[in-house]
């Protein structure tokens, strides 16, 4: 069974959320049976997620019975959601009861979630296809990452191995579960028989800390921006006796902050673990063991168990010399099958055969530790969430009658447009569409976009 859920202590609490819902391992398995009785066959469903028992139970019910879920944020833009429905034809949608529309017939209702039918017919699904996630969740790009059953098994097994997880763990899970990194926390801890604490609150909400303390959370896992907030909140002075592990991923933490958290962990007998991953690699691919947290500050560490990392130069030859920059390549059982761009692609098989070109430019030191120095692909990680630059250009171009080019860094996206008007409107529009605070976007006027003879935008000239 998925995550060997049937081999855990059935009475043990598997999930608890900040809305005070609680389910045991046994209840999940029983709910899964109900879920399957209603749906009745392998098909595609959308799960509209917030971090609560309802969303997680729907996901698990689907996975146990080989129904393929696409995990999306419940707060995503309605129009973008509508486009995904049109492109992929989910047969059912599992969503919060608050999102039910008048004309919809409820087929199943549990944990404040409901199942409704769309009247659409699923495209044929490749037999090993287990799960779909978006690459750039916020822009609603129809590009999805296709996972196999083996990917998720490897993910759960490997992560629980290098984190040394057991059934005593109670991880705080506030990273969205429709995001690969959040989902990997859920999978690896359920595989270990632990109790996962789900919340959609963030650390600026007093209720977040109350939830963490009342439930005696043993670990926190989050993106760099979260650790900036924690520092500001005087985290280092907080009394958190149950907390044992602090883990960071989803982008590069600045070295100063890395050092502060590593020192804090060392001084208080906790573990600080930096990881590296991507949706295409079923979340984590590298980790920095806590004993190196200080001596290898700024490094993403080495490959996770059962994985292999190496660098290649521009002609694809392996680089073996330390301190030489190349594209990092990952090889392992958690490399996903490939992308889907349309419903017809759901029948596609394994296109990667276990090898992933990460798009990250990386160097190693003399001890073989990896350090990220840049990025080859056109995306940013704004507040830890991946946002495709080309997708943002398309969103803006289709809503405003302008030429547009997006560049930037993980702090701020610069949007160059060929109009002097509407700058505030454009900023607001892209902020709404991506669900990202507008301070991450800057709109600049340019008379004409720099292009080469073939008409391609020369981003380096912006």
């Amino acid at each position: 069974m998925f995550l060997e859920l049937d081999k855990k202590d059935g009475k043990k609490i598997a999930l608890t959320d900040s809305g005070k819902q609680i389910v045991s391992y046994e209840e999940i398995i029983n709910f899964g049976k109900n879920f399957y009785e209603v749906i009745g066959r392998r098909t595609l469903i959308f799960v509209l997620c917030s971090n609560c028992v309802g969303a997680a139970a729907g996901y698990l019910g689907a996975m146990i019975h080989h129904i393929v879920p696409l995990m999306l944020g419940a707060s995503m833009d309605r129009q973008l959601l509508g486009e995904l429905v049109r492109v992929y034809h989910p047969e059912y949608i599992w969503k919060p009861v608050s999102m039910v529309e008048d004309h919809e017939r409820i087929l199943l209702e549990r944990y404040q979630y409901v199942l409704v039918a769309t009247g659409l017919k699923s495209y044929p699904l490749y037999e090993e296809l287990s799960l779909l996630l978006t690459t750039s969740g916020s822009t609603g790009s129809p590009k999805l990452v296709r996972h196999s059953y083996g990917n998720l098994e490897a993910q759960a097994r490997n992560i629980s191995a290098f984190f040394e997880l057991d059934d005593m763990e109670k991880p705080m899970l506030d990273l969205p579960i429709n995001y690969t990194y959040g989902l990997s926390v859920l999978n690896s801890h359920l595989y270990s028989g632990a109790t996962v604490l789900l919340t959609s609150m963030n650390p600026l909400n007093p209720g977040y800390w109350e939830f963490l303390k009342t439930n005696e959370a043993t670990s926190i896992t989050n993106v760099p921006y979260y650790y900036e907030i924690l520092k500001k909140l005087r985290f280092f002075r907080m009394e958190l006796p149950s907390l044992r592990t602090i883990s960071q991923g989803g982008g590069k933490l600045n070295e100063e902050l890395h050092k502060e958290f590593a020192e804090y962990a060392q001084n208080t007998g906790r573990r600080f673990i930096v990881t590296y991953g991507q949706t295409e690699g079923s979340a984590r691919m590298a980790w920095l063991p806590p004993k190196y947290a200080l001596s290898k500050c700024g490094s993403i560490g080495k490959a996770i168990p059962n994985g292999h990392l190496f660098l290649v130069d521009e002609s694809g030859n392996e680089i073996t010399e330390p301190y030489t920059i190349g594209e990092m390549v990952y090889e392992g059982p958690n490399v996903t099958l490939g992308y889907a761009q349309s419903g017809e692609d759901l029948i596609l098989g394994d296109e990667r055969h276990g090898i992933l070109y990460t798009g990250d430019m990386v160097k190693t030191d003399k001890d073989g530790f990896f350090y990220i120095v840049g990025r080859k692909k056109r995306f940013l990680k704004l507040w830890g969430y991946r946002v495709g630059l080309d997708e943002c250009e398309n969103i803006i171009k289709s809503a405003f009658d302008v030429e547009c080019a997006c560049i930037g860094n993980d702090e701020c996206m610069e949007i160059y447009v060929t109009t002097e008007k509407d700058h505030d409107k454009i900023r607001r529009y892209i902020s709404d569409k991506t669900n990202i605070n507008s301070s991450a976007f800057k709109v600049c006027y340019i008379e004409k976009l720099p292009r080469n003879e073939a008409g391609k935008i020369l981003y380096s000239k912006l």
Partner: protein, 79 residues
């Protein structure tokens, strides 16, 4: 510039509010851009403007325009 003017200015700049906005209606998660990111920016802006450093409970407690005024008073900022 008076303290209240400085306080209002921070809100106008961060949350695109017009001068003379209705403070009572300005609350975290209701006002556009006042999410966790906007909140951190607000805290930093107020700390800089009044040369103070908030305690954890006040960073968490500053969830509306009106509460912010009360919290600033605790730090000796006369409004």
């Amino acid at each position: 510039m008076s303290n209240l003017e400085k306080y209002n200015q921070a809100f106008c700049e961060l949350f695109s509010l017009e001068e003379g906005f209705d403070g009572v209606a300005v609350r975290i998660n209701d006002t556009e851009d006042w999410d966790s990111v906007g909140h951190m920016e607000l805290i930093t802006a107020l700390e800089d403007a009044f040369d103070i450093m908030f305690e954890t409970e006040d960073i968490l407690g500053l969830s509306s325009y009106m509460e912010g005024i009360e919290i600033l008073k605790k730090y000796g900022v006369e409004m």
